[in-house]
Subunit: 104 residues, 2 copies
DNA sequence: CTGGATCCAACGAGATACTG
DNA sequence: CAGTATCTCGTTGGATCCAG
């Protein structure tokens, strides 16, 4: 379960979910604020954990594609559920604040 | 979404999911390896984020109960999906390893 | 274009001791 | 019982420079 730990991992997977094949620079552009180091590091970890497949095309200039593996795709329903939860959360933050206020 | 970041947060929520009301020491016993510091710190953060409700009984000895808020409970389907995914992952780690081996 | 290497700051997390 | 206070250390993450 610690496979998902890391500032950008879920975000990377989200992007590879909505856009099945992405190159390094495309991910970099889509994920605002990520550094090259963190992107490649997280991609390597996700690859080692079997969530992401890395395909290298021996060309000049180099071209590398990333896509989710079968296991990675199996995660999508779960991440979708989390995404929907975050949206739900924004819909009723007042109830939360009110409950906390009452409590104290 | 960073609300869930932290080594023990998901685990805490899992326990409050299967056992709706737990005291501090009960959580401490159930979560193997957590320190008091991390437990109370994560519980405070979860409380501030509106996922966990903290109830103090002004008794001697002190008694504090933790339970999920409505928002916290809404997370359970998502966490369940993740849990099921981790189990699925253990069922086909061979396919992953094989794919990696072929790739390289 | 796709990174690797290096350095550094900030944060997370554990161990330990102490308290109302 | 339910924490807080420190200290320390390892890890994470960012910036920058370099390379095939």
């Amino acid at each position: 379960m610690r496979v998902l730990e890391g500032r950008w991992k879920m975000i990377i997977i989200f992007h590879l979910f909505s856009e099945p094949v992405l190159r390094f620079s495309e991910l970099e552009r889509r994920i605002h604020g990520v550094s090259q180091k963190m992107l490649s590091q997280h991609l390597r970890e996700l690859e080692n954990d079997g969530l992401v497949q890395r395909t290298v095309y021996p060309e000049v200039p180099p071209k590398v594609e990333y896509r989710l593996t079968e296991v990675g795709q199996a995660l999508c329903p779960a991440l979708d559920a989390i995404l929907r939860w975050t949206e739900l959360r924004r819909d009723l933050p007042h109830a939360v604040a009110a409950a906390n206020a009452e409590q104290s």
